[in-house]
């Protein structure tokens, strides 16, 4: 479980996050949604420790991340897997070497065991026969899947997924969403997904946090989201005619 308590972050004079508190449950896909520029990605980077917040704390199963020393932070980070919006695969490494990278850096396995683990992870995300290719030689959807394989290689407790569907077609987006759902259950991870893709919200969101103007505006389940009367949330979720029709249809069952 990851807890965020009274988190605030500003850049210069711009207050990006104000007093955010939230709980992200274990074994679930916790979604952070909001408009572009609302502070979702900054919140994600504060949670993983890439940004240091001015106020507040982040607790990883009770461990306050920002109070840990350098070595303890490094240990917590080895329990984290992250899929970036751009996939962030290493250009100079092949698909297989990308997945092997965290294993070679930290795992205490033999080379053969590492190979087995990397192949298993690639098989789990349905990437087979592409091991020797470089990231630039595979499609965006495949890059995301390799990113997921790399993120789960160290058997993480926490998975962060930043805009997993950006730049993907709807069909591939569903494949990625389903994969994240399945892996979260399989590895019993605390997954935090940053998204503004409404299909993802409807498909994968177990616990949804809506960020508006840097504040935790609303938190609840998918069903509660459909029933919510929160004006800002409704304006964001049901901005399109299609989503309004979906809402009506889901309400009618």
């Amino acid at each position: 479980m990851i807890e965020v308590k009274h988190l605030s972050k500003r850049f210069g004079k711009t207050q990006v996050l104000s007093d955010i508190s939230a709980v992200f449950a274990k074994g679930r896909v916790n979604q952070v949604i909001g408009k572009s520029g609302s502070g979702k990605s900054v919140l994600c980077k504060c949670i993983v420790g890439l940004f240091v917040p001015e106020e507040g704390e982040v607790l990883y199963d009770g461990r306050s991340f920002h109070l840990l020393d350098k070595e303890q932070k490094r240990q917590v980070r080895q329990e984290i897997g992250m899929l970036f919006q751009s996939s962030a695969l290493f250009d100079s490494l092949s698909v297989l070497d990308n997945v092997l990278f965290p294993l070679r850096m930290f795992a205490t396995m033999s080379e053969g065991e590492m190979m087995d683990r990397a192949h298993l992870c690639l098989k789990r995300v349905n990437i087979e026969g592409k091991e020797k290719l470089f990231p630039s030689e595979i499609s965006g959807g495949m890059q995301k899947r390799v990113g997921i394989a790399r993120a789960i290689a160290m058997n993480p407790k926490y998975l962060f997924v930043d805009e997993p569907n950006s730049g993907l077609d709807p069909q591939t987006s569903i494949v990625i969403d389903n994969l994240i759902n399945e892996l979260t259950a399989e590895y019993d991870m605390t997954t935090i997904m940053i998204t503004h893709d409404m299909n993802s919200v409807m498909e994968a969101g177990d616990n949804i946090l809506f960020i508006h103007e840097g504040k935790a505006w609303w938190q609840g389940t998918r069903q509660e989201l459909l029933d919510s009367e929160n004006a800002e949330l409704n304006a964001f979720i049901f901005a399109s005619g299609l989503m309004r029709k979906v809402k009506e249809a889901m309400r009618k069952g």
Binding site: V48, L50, M82, F84, A88, F90, D91, P102, M105
Partner: protein, 246 residues
């Protein structure tokens, strides 16, 4: 204030770079790759420049000291001294700052804007150490070899120019390059080279590591890497010369 900020930030980064590696074997593998990339692949340009610079030094020296009072072998002596003391360690390092420095800043800067450095940090990898230390070690190991090769080729280029044009006879040139040789001058040149290797790799890596924005900023970092490396090399060249030669 800006200079102070960057100086402090630079030394903070160096603290990260020289901290204990997570896996020596991985770092060593990267060091060997960097030796090839930074050193072996620079051999061509270093060789070309050295031969022609040696030739030009010889011709210019001869035309400038064309006096019956100065013996012909002095041309060889002057060519050797210019090459060992200044041309090979300093000018070649300035050239390498352009070739290698811009490459380092662009590579690390691209990794920064593509979130690959964030990915390393999140995995718990010391990204500064992993990306920069192998480059620094590789440059320290390979640049002295490049400079020694440059010294030989430059002196050889001088001999060729002198012999082919007939302005200095082969015997006079060889006598000149053997006269008054001070071995310490080679040591001094190699000390300078090691210092310049550290400057080129760390200053360029600093520019790349703290790139923010997009491809335009990567280009700016790359340019800054060359300019700042050159400036620091020139300042250190003066200081080291005063410290080691006087």
């Amino acid at each position: 204030m800006n200079l102070l900020f960057h100086t402090g930030h630079y030394f903070q980064l160096l603290g990260e770079v020289f901290s204990k590696p997570e896996r020596f074997s991985l770092y060593w593998k990267r060091t060997v790759e960097e030796i090839d990339l930074l050193g072996v692949k620079s051999l061509g340009i270093v060789a070309l420049l050295s031969v022609f610079m040696g030739a030009v030094i010889t011709i210019q020296t001869k035309t400038n000291i064309d006096s019956p009072l100065i013996q012909s072998w002095v041309v060889g002596f002057a060519a050797r001294q210019s090459t060992i003391l200044e041309f090979s360690p300093t000018i070649i390092s300035l050239i390498l700052a352009g070739k290698v420095g811009s490459n380092i800043a662009a590579e690390i800067g691209s990794m920064r804007v593509k979130e690959q450095i964030d990915a390393l940090d999140i995995m718990g990898v010391n990204s500064a150490g992993y990306l920069i230390l192998p480059k620094v070690v590789a440059a320290i190991l390979i640049f002295p070899f490049l400079v020694v090769i440059s010294m030989f080729l430059s002196i050889f280029g001088g001999w060729m120019a002198g012999s082919l044009t007939g302005i200095v006879s082969s015997d006079d040139y060889i006598m000149g390059i053997q006269s008054g040789f001070v071995p310490w001058h080679v040591t001094y040149a190699l000390i300078k080279t090691v210092v310049f290797a550290i400057i080129i790799t760390t200053v360029s890596a600093y520019q790349g590591y703290y790139t923010s924005g997009g491809t335009r900023e990567v280009g700016i970092s790359s340019t800054k890497a060359v300019v700042y490396s050159d400036v620091v090399i020139l300042i250190m060249n003066y200081l080291l010369t005063q410290l080691l030669l006087i």
